[in-house]
Subunit: 307 residues, 2 copies
């Protein structure tokens, strides 16, 4: 997985992943009206709105970014129809050549972890017939349960060319409550970082990076620099750029000297760009996806300052 | 939530929750054949098999146990149709008066956590129209991201009479990798236990227990006893009885002196009882749900030794 991602990042000269976390309040009214007329204000309508919105965004960014990161919670909240919109979004994005990082943050053990692994990055086996269900190229996982909750995914990563990004240091204000606790002079996030580095050793690709990556929030540049040095082969998935306050100059330490090692996520900053002052005057509501494209271009420029 | 759970536990004299984690390999062939004939070996077939299996189990246990705990991974792996079977299982169980603990182990922040909270234990708002989607009474959560990942659920717990069980010390062999690390003489699971206790203070019910509970694995009796003493108002959800090796005598320390404070989960030990030596000879394949009922009665007897 990681070699494909790096290849796309280099080809596009852009280490950006667009978070597809749609929310009804920033989706243009004309899209919503059509769905409500057809399905009333139901989960089916919400799902159909999300899919139409996502397709337009994808159409306008697929030639500029290597990957998208749909946040499953936004879809899951609407039940089966929401999940179908999540899957249909992934299918559509894959048809445009995008790499998919499913932001699912699952964390469970034994047969439960196997079920998540089969569904998301492997195949489910229905009495001998295999089906691909979610088709993410990579998913995020939570490490609190230890290696039992990672191991069931490892074979799928090998066999199906998939990857993982494991939470190490998250971007939120309370992330330190557990992650910054100190054990014999080492923070929990450092210990988890070293575990992720160790777990990833067997999946290092031809560019020296592992398909087992780490989530390291953009709001913690000092900690990221530290992590960068203790886990040189680990790719960082970095949330928190833009809406959560981080800018490009905070992110230099997330990259290695080869200019690789991190992919920066922006969600609202791109997909809700049409609601922002700077784009609202230049683009009409119907041009929301053009505004998203402009925001991607601006972010690329911003990141290129540090690369 | 917790008052309802305690009331049912006392009425039935049974602190058991049945884990509804169906897997195709232990579901009787006659159920599978019917679905495969109708839908071929598709996710739709798997979903319909799970629902029929679950309904039969529920019909045979709802008068004996207070609650069920469906494991969402088993359903989620089959995509939208799987999720629909999860929801339909919950609906059916609720119609029989069972309390639902959704084993989802979600853990995320801000609008993402809100989406999970709205969908699972609250209402989703579709431009002013509110819908209840998953309808669990309580769900499990992962604490690695800190209070940001818990707080969005708290209002729903209050407003909709719902609850949470937060992972503290899990039952799996590698659980110690992070959870047993020591910070100034205190283990991470103790620190998390104290946090859960603190977070739950505002939701203590009339029996002195909080609707914010903790997951404490049955395979760690010594640690559970310690946790019991530092978090007396916290209800424990205890996985690992039966298939994972724990027996009733290991579980005494999970309960308080009032005989309350813990609800013990068994999944395979009950729903796959018909595959076990001791039941296989007494029940035909078609009587799988009767075998499950017998296993519930046996577990109740086992637990009553210590209560």
């Amino acid at each position: 997985m990681i070699d494909n991602l790096i290849e796309k990042i280099e080809k596009l000269q852009n280490p950006t992943v667009v978070g597809l976390d749609p929310r009804l309040h920033f989706i243009p009214d004309y899209i919503k009206k059509e769905a409500y007329d057809k399905y009333a204000k139901t989960p089916k309508a919400a799902a159909s709105i999300f899919l139409e919105f996502n397709k337009a965004i994808i159409d306008h960014i697929y030639d500029l970014v290597p990957a998208i990161k749909p946040q499953v919670a936004m879809y899951e909240q609407f039940g089966a129809e929401g999940i179908q919109a999540y899957i249909d979004t992934i299918k559509y994005a894959k048809s445009k050549g995008l790499i998919i990082i499913g932001d699912v943050k699952r964390g469970d053990i034994t047969s439960t972890a196997e079920a998540y692994a089969d569904g998301h990055i492997g195949r489910v086996d229905i009495d001998g017939e295999k089906h691909e269900i979610y088709m993410e190229d990579s998913i995020t996982l939570n490490p609190y349960l230890g290696y039992d909750s990672i191991e069931p995914y490892m074979d799928h990563c090998k066999n199906y060319n998939r990857g993982l990004f494991i939470l190490v240091k998250t971007s939120n204000p309370n992330s330190g409550e557990i992650q910054d606790l100190e054990v014999n002079g080492e923070k929990i996030y450092e210990i988890v970082g070293k575990l992720v580095d160790k777990w990833g050793k067997s999946l290092i690709g031809k560019r020296g990076y592992s398909s087992i990556g780490a989530v390291v929030g953009a709001t913690h540049p000092a900690q990221a620099e530290e992590l960068r040095s203790i886990m040189p082969n680990t790719y960082f998935l970095v949330p928190g750029y833009g809406a959560q306050g981080a800018t490009a100059k905070d992110l230099k330490g997330y990259f290695n000297k080869d200019g690789l090692g991190a992919i920066i996520n922006s969600s609202r900053g791109i997909i809700a760009a049409h609601k922002k002052e700077e784009y609202r005057n230049r683009f009409s509501e119907k041009e929301f996806a053009l505004a998203a494209r402009e925001a991607v271009i601006a972010m690329k420029k911003d990141l290129q300052q540090i690369l």
